[in-house]
């Protein structure tokens, strides 16, 4: 897997521990090693994505030799003219890239929240056409065997969750969302994408218990239930306005990736010109440890400023707009 800490990160973390010790540790900001987030340009869904994806993974020096990887795209609905789902070419490029790095196995897994027949949805969304022998590498997380999990940190009213064994058993769960606005939580990115890892076979379609338990709180809880994550956000063509289904396609031309989903989502928000400090689930997940602050995120490849493009927001979420953005 990824090297635990670089020397620089170790020193930073050590300094943080020292500060905490001197402060008595009470409700203090916990300094974390800076999270690395890459922003790579990718203007089109074409075959250059295979090289681009290898480059993305190389930026993060992931050591996945002999590991089992699960790619979790975002499949919601299919409408030909829209940009609701993670593009199958990006997912296939990731699958090939992880295989080329020596992964023992790479699976694609998803559990859509509205539609019960996941494979029909995947077929309509182009996955069968793009990914050879798709059914052999795919697991429907709505119908997978489950285990009971007690999230280590509980923000919602759900004291336990039943989660699919394919996702829980992965050495690395790779959340691959579409970069979209969301009419209930502002933005849906790698953390919200984990709603698709909640099995419909247990919770139904939609996964309504998460809504009653608090959507934002449930996003934060789910994040802690999967400790071994990587995030790759499909921002090549995202969605703005009334996302995550009825919005408008929004080309942003980027792939955002990293090992800390909170930092990745915060960066994606900044690219969308949304203030991550005003996105409640990000604040809950970060729990004031500062990891959504821009200085605490090590940006690689492109800068945020060079790729930022404002995503249109519905009136309810105008207050999320990053200061100084159009």
């Amino acid at each position: 897997m990824q090297p635990l800490l670089t020397r620089r990160e170790f020193v930073t973390a050590g300094a943080g521990v020292a500060v905490l010790a001197s402060a008595g540790c009470n409700s203090a900001v916990v300094p974390l090693p800076p999270a690395a987030v890459s922003i790579v340009r990718a203007p089109l869904y074409d075959h250059s994505l295979y090289d681009t994806m290898r480059r993305v993974l190389s930026l993060h020096r992931l050591d996945v030799r002999g590991r089992h990887i699960v790619l979790k795209p975002n499949l919601v609905e299919f409408e030909p003219a829209s940009s609701i789902n993670t593009h199958p070419l990006l997912v296939h490029a990731a699958l090939e890239a992880f295989r080329s790095l020596g992964a023992a196995g790479v699976r694609i897994a998803e559990g859509p929240g509205h539609r019960r027949n996941t494979l029909d949805l995947a077929e309509a969304a182009g996955y069968f056409k793009i990914v050879p022998r798709f059914e052999d590498v795919f697991t429907d997380l709505n119908l997978d065997d489950v285990s009971r999990v007690y999230p280590p940190r509980q923000a919602s009213r759900l004291s336990k969750l039943y989660l699919p064994n394919t996702a829980l058993g992965a050495d690395l769960l790779v959340s691959m969302p579409k970069m979209k606005t969301h009419h209930w939580v502002g933005a849906t990115l790698s953390m919200k994408n984990l709603f698709g890892a909640v099995p419909g076979g247990v919770y139904g379609w939609p996964k309504n218990p998460l809504h009653w338990a608090g959507i934002e709180e449930s996003i934060a809880d789910l994040h802690t239930a999967f400790p071994r994550q990587f995030a790759i956000v499909d921002g090549i063509v995202g969605m703005e306005g009334n996302g995550p289904i009825q919005g408008t396609p929004k080309p942003a031309g980027v792939i955002v990736a990293g090992s800390d989903p909170v930092a990745v989502d915060a960066t994606a928000c900044r690219i969308m010109r949304i203030d991550p400090l005003r996105v409640r689930y990000l604040r809950l997940a970060a729990s004031d440890d500062g990891r959504i602050l821009e200085p605490n995120i090590v940006q690689t490849a492109e800068s945020i400023a060079s790729v930022a493009t404002p995503f249109a927001l519905i009136p309810l979420f105008q207050s999320l707009r990053l200061e100084g953005a159009a």
Binding site: H114, R116, N117, D140, G204, P206
Partner: protein, 307 residues
Amino acid sequence: MAIGNLVVQAGPVGASPAGSPLMAIGNLLDRQNPDGGWPYVRGGSWVEPTVYSVLALLSAGEIGPARCGLAWIRSVRRSDGGWAPRADIDESTWVTALVALLPPEHLGEAFHQSAIAWLLDTQGRETTTLYRIREWLLGNPDTPDRHFPGWPWVPGTAAWVGPTCLAILALAKHHQRRPSAAARGRIEKGQTFLLRHMCAGGGWNHGGVNALGYASRPYPETTGMALAALRGATSPKIDLSLAVAREFLRQCRSADASNWLRLGLRAHGQLPVEYCPPPGLSCRTVPETSLHLALAAADRGRGIFGV
């Protein structure tokens, strides 16, 4: 292998598990777990695929494996009288409606009554007295939706189209056998719930018909389910939805959608007599294969879900 009295006459079941009812039965038997239950695709036993498999095998005369399935279902009943989706889940949910669809003479009368009692005692949270008092105290206006209870996927949450359809089908089948005012009342209110949650142009999706002012589109499978649950009801809305269902069926490339659309249209005498599932239709899960088999039996007049 015995295939009971099933006639190999239906259209292809699909590339994945079976190309004929005979192959579909073989596929179901191959997938039965040692504990008697069935997975959705592979893995441990779940109540939903087990119920559908039992219904299909009973309709095909495969009594032995069906009995093993029934024994597993009986063994996982919970102390509150309901069923959880799997044995290792500690809450009774929507799958109780599926158990209530099983013939009592096979399931056992006491188990059937327990499933029916659980259903009659369950409703979406937004129609419960406690929730309505809470809303009143908060100063929120009463809405007509709070007077027509449907059923939730999981108790303590809102009612949705899918579980409401299954609960209505179960109660209607029960009511045919043993009429009761309680069952009839819940069926009628449940049907009103469905009509109130129909998409603007007809048909049903999961139940969210409106998202921030934008009308949501219907799905084929839930449209079929809702029409099946609305058997005997009359409303111009149903006529509108029947037209949507016919169009869905004409374009259908999904076994799940085909199964439910046929059930829904049949419930209103609107299934085209010449209809045959398109070639190459893939049954990708145990419920899809099972329903397809059960429908083949229904084509010969053996009712499924009382539809």
